[in-house]
Every structure is written in structure tokens, then in C-alpha cells.
């Protein structure tokens, strides 16, 4: 399926530019010319489809659906809906308050808050395009499991008193949303896809350029020495570096790909990706508006431990 893109990159680099094969610059450029169009096309298709699906599940519907759900079943549903819901750190507060106010249990809300940033279609397309479907699937399944478990644990710990008191006072009005027609959904999805690609192509290109650089220039066993399987501290170390970092899963994937090639074990790499995507310093600062510091600390700790364990698990089985 991707052969066309490979042929195109080979044609540009070897025939058209006439660069010598095997040279680091040629390798880096080939990686770049192959990756950018391929990822962009995959991305356009995926975002269009996801936008249409998404128009059926706005958060206003989600909160009613998850309201008063029993633990566990609720956690599973929340984690799954989280995959399809877009997330930016600043929307965390209205989502959180809206959910709590609608009677969604705290643990269930957290399952949603974990899976929504951790798993998104953009990151998945990057994983699919660069690592293949097995790794993409592994990432989704482990992300959902982590979201379910961490939300479940937070629910069981009964931490409702660590939510800022005013959150419980807010009463929001019930809104009736306009139900779009199919044409409207498609037009909206089309507009969103175009706007998104315009904004992201440059971003993808920069990430692919860094990926290409590592691919071509960094010696291939470089990371095996420092962060290979025989270093048990590698997983917690990369996760602790990744937690405060703020980057979307999408921008990280090309870099992760290049790192895996240079000997970073897959489990360590996926753990790094998860920690960057799921947690960030700006998000914690924003969540402080609704959560007491202690609850943020518990949330971050549970998630960090879960991600580290996942990293070890994958390194052991893959």
C-alpha cells in the first residue's frame, strides 16, 4: 500500500537528485521524502473519517451517557469514548466540571481524562504508518487498559473531597444541540481536515526531519549501549523525562521511530510516547483549577507507575 510513496522517494532522491545511496544525507532525505507525503495522506483520510464519527458523540452527549455509570463498566466506556474525543489541555477544565456536574463518577471521569490525550487518531496514524498495525494496536490496547485501571483505582480511593469545592456547586443548564444533517457533518469534517492539515503539515515535516536526521546520522547501535534492555533504569528514566514534556503523540512518533531503529527497545519507546502524550506540566497547572494538589499528585503517580509497568511488560514480551 505504501510502495507508491517509497518509489516516489527513491525516484526523487536517487534518480532526480542523483544522490549516492548509503550516504547519511541521502538516507535522511529519503526517510523525509518518503514519510511526509505518506503520513499526510493517511492523516487526511483518518481525520476526515474520525471527524464524521465524532460529530455523533459531542461531549454533551458523552456526559449524559456516562452519568451515574457503575465503576468498571463506566471506566471501560469512558476510556473507549476518550479515544474518539479530541483533547487539548485547556478543554480539560470544562470537560471535568461538565462531567462531575452531570453525575459522572470521579474515577470514570479520570478514565476519560487519561485516554483522551493518550490515544488520538493523529498519533495512531503515525504509529500505523511508521511501525505497522501491530504496534498501533498494541498502543491502543495498552492505553485503554491504563486508562481503565488508573480511573478505577482513583474511583476506589474515594478522593471526591480532593476536588475543589466550587465544582460541586456549579449547576449547568441543559442544552439542546442542533442535530446536523449528513451533508453538514461531511462539510464540517472536510473543513476541519483542511484546517488541521494546513496547521500540521509543517509540524509533521519538522518531526520527520528530526527523525530523518537520527535515521541517517546517529550510529545504529548508539542507544542499545545506553538505554537497551540490559539497563533496567531506562524505562523509568524516559518516562520521568516524558511526563512534564508537552507534545502531541503525533509529533513524537517519527522521533520515536528513529530511536527504536537505533536500538531503543519498543517497550521503552512506547512508554516514552505515552508519558509525553498523557501527562504534561501545562495540563497539571490547568487541572489545578479544579483539583487539589494532592489529587493531581495521586493522578500523576498512578499514571506514571502504570506507564512504567507497561514499558517493562512490552520489553519482556515483544
Amino acid at each position: 500500500m505504501f510502495a507508491l510513496f517509497k518509489d516516489f522517494a527513491d525516484y526523487v532522491v536517487f534518480d532526480w537528485l542523483g544522490l549516492p545511496p548509503g550516504d547519511p544525507f541521502t538516507i535522511a532525505l529519503n526517510f523525509f521524502v518518503y514519510g511526509v507525503p505518506k503520513i499526510s495522506v493517511l492523516m487526511a483520510v483518518a481525520i476526515f473519517i474520525v471527524s464524521i464519527i465524532r460529530s455523533f458523540i459531542p461531549p454533551e452527549k458523552t456526559k449524559k451517557f456516562l452519568s451515574h455509570r457503575r465503576t468498571f463498566v463506566g471506566n471501560i466506556l469512558a476510556a473507549l469514548i476518550g479515544i474518539l474525543t479530541p483533547f487539548c489541555s485547556c478543554s480539560a477544565v470544562p470537560l471535568f466540571i461538565g462531567f462531575m456536574e452531570a453525575g459522572v463518577p470521579l474515577g470514570v471521569t479520570f478514565s476519560f481524562l487519561v485516554s483522551s490525550p493518550m490515544i488520538n487518531e493523529v498519533g495512531l496514524i503515525m504509529l500505523l504508518g511508521m511501525f505497522g498495525w501491530k504496534v498501533a494496536l498494541l498502543y491502543v490496547i495498552s492505553g485503554v487498559v491504563i486508562a481503565i485501571i488508573s480511573g478505577y483505582v482513583i474511583g476506589k480511593l474515594k478522593l471526591e473531597h480532593l476536588v475543589e469545592g466550587y465544582v460541586y456547586q456549579i449547576k449547568s443548564e441543559d442544552v439542546e444541540l442542533h442535530e446536523p444533517t449528513f451533508t453538514e457533518r461531511c462539510r464540517e469534517a472536510g473543513n476541519f481536515t483542511t484546517a488541521f492539515l494546513k496547521k500540521t503539515v509543517l509540524y509533521i515535516a519538522v518531526a520527520m526531519a528530526i527523525g530523518g536526521f537520527i535515521h541517517g546520522y546517529v550510529p545504529s547501535e548508539f542507544l542499545t549501549t545506553y538505554a537497551g534492555r540490559n539497563n533496567p533504569l531506562a524505562v523509568p528514566l524516559v518516562v520521568l523525562i516524558g511526563v512534564p514534556m508537552y507534545n502531541s503523540a503525533a509529533g513524537m512518533v517519527p522521533i520515536i521511530y528513529a530511536l527504536v531503529e537505533k536500538g531503543l527497545p519498543l517497550g521503552t519507546a512506547l512508554a516514552f510516547l505515552m508519558s509525553v502524550a498523557a501527562l504534561s506540566l501545562p495540563e497539571m497547572v490547568i487541572l489545578r483549577r479544579v483539583l487539589k494538589v494532592k489529587l493531581i499528585a495521586i493522578y500523576v503517580s498512578i499514571l506514571t507507575v502504570a506507564i512504567i509497568l507497561t514499558g517493562y511488560l512490552f520489553n519482556a514480551i515483544v
Binding site: E60, K171, V175
Partner: protein, 79 residues
């Protein structure tokens, strides 16, 4: 007519207020327009995603930047 505009507080700059003003001046619509970026106020009104427009207490849309023609449609009562 009373129009309330909620702009997105971050992520992306939105100028829905500008669209509303243009729609009003180009179509001779008179209304009282308020603009807010307060997330809490939006949540109280049942809005979970900004930007959003409320016309006479009814949330007409949320979560995206509308087309100019749509805004005109809402302000002229969906005609």
C-alpha cells in the same frame, strides 16, 4: 434580541464576535451582544466546548468556528 458569544480561551484564536458583528451590520440586525472568554460561565450555560453562540438563551452551536452564512442564518431566525 440578545446574543452571547463565548470565544475559545486558548488552543486557537477565534473571532466569532467579529463574525457576529459583521453579520449584524451587513444585514441590519439590531441586538445586544456580549462577549466572554470565561470557561466557568460557559460551563454554567451547559457549554462544554468553546467557541459558542447563544441567541436569546438558546445555544445555537458549540465547539467550532462557524461559517459566516451560518451566523447570518442564526441571527435572522433560521430563515
Amino acid at each position: 434580541m440578545k446574543i452571547e458569544v463565548f470565544e475559545a480561551s486558548c488552543c486557537k484564536p477565534t473571532n466569532v464576535y467579529g463574525l457576529v458583528e459583521r453579520a449584524m451590520s451587513e444585514n441590519g440586525i439590531r441586538a445586544e451582544v456580549t462577549k466572554s472568554v470565561d470557561v466557568m460561565e460557559a460551563v454554567k450555560r451547559g457549554i462544554m466546548r468553546t467557541p459558542a453562540i447563544i441567541v436569546d438563551g438558546k445555544v445555537v452551536y458549540t465547539g467550532r468556528i462557524p461559517e459566516y452564512e451560518e451566523v447570518v442564518g442564526w441571527l435572522t431566525g433560521g430563515k
